[in-house]
């Protein structure tokens, strides 16, 4: 039985000229795919019913939807300020 062939990953890429050409071709394909995703798939998803109202709202409100921690979202600061004031100074009878 012949030993299993294993591809070794070289972050430096291929060194021979035909290999280099193929690599650049792959890069162009990858970039084309990304552009397709950004300019075609994304807007198509926006047009789907149920999604558009949410995405339009996010665009209008300016909320930083990709922010992953609370310090990256302005609205968290506003919310904490409002809730703290509401709990510390609740209107008479609440």
């Amino acid at each position: 039985m012949s030993p299993e062939k294993k591809t070794v990953f070289i972050p430096g890429g291929s060194r021979n000229p035909p290999g280099r050409l193929k690599s650049w071709f792959k890069l162009c394909i990858g970039l084309a795919f990304l552009l397709f995703f950004v300019y075609v798939v994304g807007p198509f998803l926006d047009s789907l019913p149920g999604i558009k109202p949410v995405t339009d709202f996010i665009d209008d409100s300016g909320i930083n939807a990709p922010a992953f921690y609370y310090t990256g979202v302005e609205e968290v600061g506003d919310a904490v300020n409002y809730i703290r004031n509401s709990l510390e100074y609740p209107p008479n009878g609440q």
Binding site: G42, A67, Y69, T71
Partner: protein
Amino acid sequence: MAVNTGAPSKGQDYVVIESGKTTSKDLYTKEDWMVIWLGFIILIVGLLIYGLNPPDKMQENFNKYNTTMKEEAAKAPFKTMAWHQASDAKKRIRGRDQSFGKTIQEFLNAPSGWASNPVDSLYRSKAEADAMNAPFKEAAEKAKAAQEAGLAKAKEAEKAAGAAAFKNSDLNKKAEAEIAAWLKAKDAASKAGAKVGNKPYNRLPYLIGTAIILGLFFGIGKAIMGQSFGRFFVGFFFVFAFAVLSYMAEKQATMSHYGFGFPLWAIIFGMLISNTVGTPKWVMPAVTTEYYIKTGLVLLGAEILFNKILAIGKPGIFVAWICTPITLILTYWFGQRIVKMPSKTLNITISADMSVCGVSAAIATAAACRAKKEELTLAIGLSMVFTAICMVGQPAFAKLVGMDQILAGAWMGSTIDSTGAVAAAGAFYGQKALYVAATIKMIQNILIGVVAFCVAVYWCARVDCVPGQRVSWWEIWYRFPKFVIGFMLASIIFSIIDGSVGGDYSTAIIDQGVLRGWSRLLREWFFALAFTSIGLETNFREFGEYFKGGKPITLYVFGQAFQLCLTLLVAYIMFFVIFPGVAARI
């Protein structure tokens, strides 16, 4: 099987590595210690900048607004206009809004938003800015007029209620409704105003300046550790350029509203290069994932302020700090016993990412358990896709069943992964839902400090050892990822400062100064550099091994489904059965 044994042979496969015994020389030659020094230098500089330069008459103004709210709260059974104005004025007292804070942000901010032309994120002329503002001028003026009309009506209604000494319930209700309408009109006017507030800019000089400063900063650290400054500095600009590209992709309008952030783009761009034309050799000295990620994590530690867990009272602690660990432990158990995940580190990274707070939890946990880069990448990819789905789906479901705003906010805040998506989903559902969702998410964010620490200890004591072996405390210390000490120390020190200076002062100087106006901006650049580095040294084919049988997706779906049900139940019990007073006050 891709289990990390604690003695990795292929260094570049792991997010973080720590091995060998500790000596005093390690304090300046080992990366884990160096990142602590670098992180603390940044934090100390931030404290000096903002701590020594508070906004003018800060304490005087806080006292004034607090007195107003106290008096107004005693006067009427609802939040009066003066109460809202004082609350609003308080939030505008921020360290980072001073001129030096704005200059810092000008340097460190990410590129700007754009829709169709990527160049717009780096440069905008005055003519372009004017052209962008022109179509919205009329709408902005109308919104302003509506706000003024709302203000007049609210004033009148409140005056009528006041004339009856706030004893007439019909007049009180009318005043409350008019005030709510005025607040809504004010919010609309503010959003309309933002659309005519486009200004010209040129981000390039600032980005070049930031690249040079960060290159020097990290390069000096490398030199102290005995590595080549020059080779690092040259390669750094390539990595930085791709970090800029990843930010630009995040800021594209469509990608931004789906929440596809820079970590995902940095990995994609990096992998696109490394798996096609290849990462140039001269860049490799600057492709140092661990160095950037660990420095970023030390800075993230400062953002973990433990006093914030009380921000919404006891129900918030139960929803965020009880449901989340239960979900985390159960999901991890499910992954090991039922799904039989190929790797424990992948299992815990996905479990933490899904149950705690997405990307930030994934980074901290992956670093604490020394997960592989591919595992972190996979967890982040899953999180971003599911976050986009939940951000659209959860408010829609809440609307369908007519869920209460407070309940919906608590539910979304605890179950949607990323904070930005939580704010978007909450705001879409309503103002109160936004306030509760954002606050619950912030409380949950704080949990990552505890999770990262527990995972690091558990991995050193239990996972990274031979079955049946008893590990001594010294051995745990040797194996313990030391940068976690910096991460925890930053959290403890900043929590003590936050607690000792008082809520208002801390908000203005620590949260809205040192953190949001300094360390957070740098921390995000460090993560962008780290994720670019991950991409630049990751083989696309290695992902196949982790996706076998769709196990990560099964794990994620199970955990998320459990969390959605558990959180809804606990939030209802906490806000409407045990502590109904908190919901009433909001």
